[in-house]
Structure formats: structure tokens, C-alpha cells
């Protein structure tokens, strides 16, 4: 049996727009994932620590503040600092991101960027396709 995919849906920094994150969390639940929602105004340290303790496969960071280039790298760095490995994770960013910054985010390790208007099925399919290809899934297959 395949292991249940665990997803952390997070809101980082001074950004009160949580409708999108809540809707995504709800539909990922309906896609059969186990979804942990952080609530608003978490710091990068808090989100990173949650990802490590909850041992998630996917981390989704929702940003509508324009601070993605400042905050996303911080989250990933803190995951490393807390003993985690961002390469094992599917890293997703959602919210308001200008298209000309997609490549910058991908360069620091973001796997997928989903802006408003994205059909939920696209996010679900993306996770299902990419999660088994991550370092961690391969390791677990070897170990068990």
C-alpha cells in the first residue's frame, strides 16, 4: 500500500489572505491527502519546524504579500538548519507571484508555482506525479 501523502499548507509572514490556502487545504483533503494547516502569520522558523516535526512530503507556502523571494528561501534554509532535507520535499508556492520570478523561485528549489485561477486538479496531479520521484520516496522503497 502506498503511504499517505502528508502536506503542510502554510501562511508565512505579515499576510492576512488565507482564503486561497484554506480552499487548497480543503480540496487536497478531498484528494486523499493528509493536510496540516498552519494558520496565519507564522514565521519561517515555525513553518520549517512544523515541516520537520510533521514529517510531511509536501510543503505549500502561500504568499500574497510579495515577499516570496525573501521568505521562501528562509523557510528552506531553516528546514536544513533543523535537520531536514528540502530535497526530499515537494516544495510548492501559491498566491501572487509575477511570472518573471518563477525561474528565480525554481532556482532555489521550488518545484511548482500556482497562481490564482489554477484548477485544483492541476495541483493534485502535480503532487501525485512528482512526490514519488523525490529522493525520500526512493529511499523508502529501498529500506522497506
Amino acid at each position: 500500500m502506498e503511504r499517505k501523502i502528508r502536506v503542510l499548507v502554510s501562511k508565512v509572514g505579515l499576510d492576512g489572505h488565507d482564503r486561497g490556502a484554506k480552499v487548497v487545504a480543503r480540496f487536497l483533503r478531498d484528494a486523499g491527502f493528509e493536510v496540516i494547516y498552519t494558520g496565519l502569520h507564522r514565521t519561517p522558523q515555525e513553518v520549517a519546524m512544523a515541516a520537520v516535526q510533521e514529517d510531511v512530503d509536501v510543503i505549500g507556502i502561500s504568499l500574497h504579500s510579495g515577499a516570496h523571494m525573501a521568505l521562501v528561501p528562509k523557510v528552506l534554509n531553516y528546514i536544513k538548519e533543523y535537520g531536514g532535507d528540502p530535497d526530499e520535499l515537494v516544495v510548492l508556492v501559491g498566491g501572487i507571484v509575477p511570472e518573471d520570478e518563477f525561474d528565480d523561485l525554481k532556482a532555489i528549489g521550488v518545484d511548482g508555482i500556482f497562481i490564482p485561477g489554477t484548477p485544483i486538479s492541476k495541483i493534485v496531479d502535480f503532487i501525485k506525479e512528482i512526490a514519488p520521484k523525490k529522493k525520500r520516496s526512493k529511499m523508502e522503497k529501498m529500506e522497506n
Binding site: F33, V35, L40, E46, Q53, E54, E143, N144
Partner: protein, 348 residues
């Protein structure tokens, strides 16, 4: 991470190792069982506290405030919080963690080195816990947390599995949740070692408090009557449960009013929890109750192992045996006796 790395990590305070171990155990990986075997000798030290109650009464908020209070008292805290898994899709929305600190990040519980929080889906299991909650608690215990808080699924009337895991069970209620008949119904309202009436700033808290206290007085009398009957002992053999209830003789569950959101009553609650642990230790009930639980757990494990053996063994064709019984060639009792003989002769 391999088994030895994880075990060593857990015993030396590596949270990532603990997190990974829970994943392995939760998903029934063979490595999970190996890890549990290796850490078992380090378990048994933590005070395991269960928080249960109907959905929306404020369990997660109580957990958050209690965590903060125990940290102020110099104790480290592990938390397992369970939310329901969907019977339709298997998915889950685990929304207990977000109550930690609420909107106030000033307490830093999320990144406190002395705190570890893990959300779990019940994965369709009834009873208020996930199948592997007990094992997750053991891993946290071996890690060295002083206190482990287990928050159940928002419980219905009969979801009482928490008493199989927690040393101290706290039932959280709120005002106006029903009259005194509701409060005297069997099930969740009998299991509290401590009762909390949260949201006590709402009207009706005093009335709810009176009803619970009246219910508890009758409980004490019931325990006294039951202890004197042999009927109770027979009952214990059948259910394993009533005896646990009787073992509470000598402890009158306190009823504490809280407004968890504001932190009101939380110190008093933490005092009551600590007092209950002292009572459990001094009365010998801690050891006795844990022993009875282990006995039930081992019987379940044993049954599980025998089932697994029957399914894969080439020494017994279980399905064929069922066939023979269904054709009336042999009765079920004799069939089982035959199976047991095969088990013994093959030294499984």
C-alpha cells in the same frame, strides 16, 4: 535514515529522527516495529495526559495553554493531536496545530526546543484515536518528554479509547451542552480523572458544574458498591474496563472552570494534573493500570501475529479448514483446537 540512526537520534534528542520514526510506525513499515523494539526499555517515564471532549469545546486551545504552562514549570512537552480521516477519500484536514499560540507567536511554542507537536489522522478508526497513537506516544516517551499530551478526535459519546493510552484523562466540556440526563449517560462522561468546563465565561457554566459534581458523587458511591460485589470481578474479566474505573477509588475528580483563550484556570488545571499523577504513583494505580493495559495490548498483538501466521503459513490451510466447517464435517471448536496443535508443534 536507517533503524540504528533513528534509534540513536531519538535517544539523543534529534527531532527529525523522532518525526521519521512516527511516520514509519504510523504506516506499518517493518522498520517501525524494529525501532519500537529498540526503544521500549527507555519508555515508561513520561506522564501521559489525554484531552478529550466534543468537537469545538476548545481542546486544542486547552492543549496550547497547558503546553505553555508546563514549559513555565520547566517540563518538556510532546503532543499528539488526532483529527478524523475521511471515510470517503481517506484524506484529512489536521487542524489542531494551528491553535498552538493562536495568533500570538510571542510564546514561540512552535520552535521551542522543549516542545514537539505531531498531527495524526484517525484514518477511519473509531474510538477517538489513531491505531498507532499509543506507539507514537511511546516514541515520544523514549525521546524523553516529561509530559505527553494526547488530544483525541472531537469525541462522540462512546469514544473512550483515550483511557487505554493516558494516565490522566481530561474531559473538556462547555456550558449548555445538555441537561443532567446527558451528563449521567454512560461513555465519555464517566472517564474523566479531571473535568474542565471551558468557555466558562458563557452563561450556564455554574449549572453545568453542579450537574457534573452531582454525577461524580453518584460515581463515587457506585464505585464503593461495585467493589463489594463479586459480580464486578466477573465483569472485569469480560471487559477489562470496569476494574480500571474501580481503581479510581480514592480520587475524586476535580471540576475546573476555564476560559482557555484567555488562559483563565489553566494553572489550576496544571496543578490538578500534577496532583493526579502523584495520586497514581502513591496509590500504586499507575503501575497496576499500565500493567492491565499491557496485558490487553499483548493479547491483541498475539491475536494479530496468529492471524498473520495463519494467512501465510503452508502448515495450515485455514481456508480449507473453514470449508470443512461449512460442510459440517467438523465443528469450529475442534477445528480451532487442531489449528492450535499445529501452531504448537511448529514452534511458531
Amino acid at each position: 535514515m536507517d533503524v540504528d540512526e533513528i534509534v540513536e537520534g531519538i535517544l539523543s534528542g534529534n527531532k527529525r529522527a523522532l518525526a521519521r520514526a512516527i511516520t514509519y510506525v504510523e504506516n506499518d513499515y517493518p522498520d517501525g516495529k524494529l525501532i519500537l523494539k529498540k526503544i521500549f526499555r527507555k519508555t515508561g517515564r513520561a506522564h501521559v495526559i489525554g484531552i478529550t471532549g466534543f468537537p469545538g469545546v476548545g481542546k486544542s486551545t486547552v492543549v496550547s495553554k497547558l503546553t505553555n504552562e508546563f514549559r513555565n514549570r520547566g517540563k518538556t512537552v510532546g503532543i499528539v493531536a488526532i483529527d478524523p480521516g475521511s471515510p470517503f477519500t481517506g484524506g484529512a484536514l489536521l487542524g489542531d496545530r494551528l491553535r498552538m499560540d493562536g495568533l500570538d507567536s510571542s510564546k514561540k511554542l512552535w520552535i521551542d526546543p522543549g516542545v514537539f507537536f505531531r498531527s495524526m489522522s484517525s484514518r477511519g478508526r473509531a474510538g477517538g484515536l489513531a491505531a498507532k497513537t499509543g506507539d507514537a506516544v511511546r516514541l515520544m516517551d523514549a525521546f524523553g518528554f516529561d509530559v505527553i499530551l494526547v488530544e483525541t478526535v472531537g469525541a462522540g459519546q462512546s469514544e473512550v479509547d483515550i483511557i487505554e493510552v493516558a494516565d490522566t484523562s481530561i474531559v473538556v466540556l462547555m456550558p449548555e451542552m445538555g441537561d443532567d440526563i446527558q451528563i449521567n449517560k454512560a461513555g465519555i462522561l464517566e472517564i474523566g480523572d479531571i473535568y474542565v468546563i471551558n468557555k466558562a465565561d458563557l452563561g450556564g457554566a455554574d449549572k453545568t458544574e453542579r450537574w457534573i459534581k452531582a454525577m461524580l458523587m453518584m460515581d463515587q458511591e457506585a464505585v464503593e458498591i461495585l467493589t463489594k460485589t463479586t459480580h464486578a470481578q466477573e465483569y472485569e474479566v469480560q471487559t477489562g474496563q470496569i476494574f480500571d474505573k474501580m481503581s479510581r477509588a480514592g480520587w475524586i475528580p476535580p471540576v475546573i472552570k476555564t476560559v482557555a483563550e484567555r488562559g483563565d484556570g489553566i494553572q489550576e488545571l496544571a496543578d490538578a494534573i500534577e496532583k493526579h499523577f502523584i495520586y497514581l504513583k502513591e496509590s500504586g494505580n499507575l503501575i497496576e493500570t499500565r500493567k492491565r493495559r499491557l496485558s490487553r495490548e499483548m493479547i491483541e498483538l498475539l491475536i494479530g501475529e496468529i492471524k498473520a501466521y495463519l494467512m501465510k503459513s503452508d502448515k495450515i490451510d485455514f481456508n480449507k479448514m473453514v470449508e470443512r466447517v461449512s460442510r459440517n464435517e467438523i465443528d469450529p471448536h475442534t477445528a480451532v483446537e487442531e489449528i492450535i496443535r499445529v501452531l504448537i508443534n511448529n514452534n511458531i
